[in-house]
């Protein structure tokens, strides 16, 4: 077999890049880039407030967005791989590489959700090992995702996760002082709901194809509105 020349490699790479850019993935890349940028701006924009106060709520809030950025990085990575190789299912075609990437995506996603929830609940949840429990639960969710390769299992895991989050947010808000749900709780519930739709979009390809644009635009709106709130409050 003739060795590949520099020009041939360049041509191959050029074709690959062209394939990526022409396969309708541009929107996916822009979408991921905006969400990652928003999350990192929130993380770094609140650094000074945390350094001055060492406030636990601020710490968990920042970590949630760092995990969102990492999760979205792996999410976009999975999407690019699927687009590039024109496959619809990651684990079947790339068993080892796919398992690692999907594991990281699910772990960071779950951690982001748990940390954001904990940022508003840390005063009420006094148990010392809460963070350890989050890591263990996230590891369990990620492992289950890799082991049970069934769309039904994926849907059940995510529905259970969302039910837990919604119940926690509802119970925490069901206090005599707070009669009306604040904007923040509505934004967080929407963020959790659309985040889970984003996860389902990765795990069960084509399941939400019809609503993909709507999910992407709403998710962008939610992240941008949180970033706007952060910028407004931190000047």
């Amino acid at each position: 077999m003739a060795p590949m020349t520099g020009r041939a490699i360049e041509q191959g790479m050029g074709q690959g890049l062209g394939k990526i850019m022409n396969s309708g993935i541009q929107g996916e890349i822009i979408y991921s880039f905006i969400i990652i940028a928003c999350s990192l701006m929130i993380y770094f924009g609140t650094k000074e407030l945390y350094n001055l106060t060492s406030h636990k709520g601020i710490k968990y809030f920042r970590q949630a967005f760092l995990f969102f950025a990492l999760a979205y990085f792996f999410r976009s990575f999975i999407k690019i791989i699927l687009f590039y190789f024109e496959k619809s299912e990651l684990l079947t075609f790339f068993p080892i590489f796919g398992s690692i990437t999907l594991f990281m995506f699910m772990y960071f996603s779950s951690m982001a959700i748990f940390y954001l929830l904990y940022s508003v609940m840390w005063k009420k949840w006094k148990w010392k090992s809460t963070i350890l429990l989050f890591h263990l639960t996230s590891l369990a969710i990620a492992t289950t995702t890799i082991l049970f390769r069934s769309p039904t299992a994926y849907l059940i895991i995510n529905i259970l996760l969302f039910a837990f989050i919604s119940l926690t947010v509802y119970l925490s808000h069901k206090q005599p002082k707070k009669k009306k749900p604040t904007n923040l709780y509505i934004i967080y519930l929407m963020l959790f709901f659309f985040w889970i739709l984003n996860i389902i979009d990765i795990l069960v390809p084509n399941f939400l194809q019809t609503f993909q644009l709507f999910i992407y635009l709403t998710s962008l709106g939610i992240f941008l509105s949180i970033l706007y709130k952060v910028i407004k409050k931190t000047n």
């Binding site: 407030l49 001055l52 406030h55 709520g57 601020i58 809030f61 508003v120 604040t182 923040l184 409050k233």
Partner: protein, 87 residues
């Protein structure tokens, strides 16, 4: 009077130092309305975080550092941020 939270107590201690430019530990303890054990805890924390510094002249005095000044400037922003996100 409502119980002060940690951020308010730190703000109050720093404000007392700022208003006096430099102050000795005993008057600071008196003005801060804290028990001596509580005061010691906060005092050490402020020293560790470099919000205040001790100066040794005729007496030991406490002054505000740039970081302490920054905390006072940012206090309202911090409180508004914590309230906004219910942290």
């Amino acid at each position: 009077m409502a119980k002060r939270n940690k951020l308010e107590i730190i703000r109050d201690i720093l404000k007392i130092i700022q208003n006096n430019h430099s102050i000795r530990p005993t008057p600071l303890l008196r003005k801060s309305n804290l028990s001596s054990s509580q005061f010691k805890k906060y005092y050490l924390e402020l020293l560790n975080k470099k919000f205040i510094k001790e100066t040794y002249g005729k007496n030991k005095t406490i002054t505000l550092t740039e970081k302490g000044q920054k905390y006072l400037e940012k206090y309202l922003t911090i409180i508004n941020f914590i309230d906004e996100f219910e942290l």
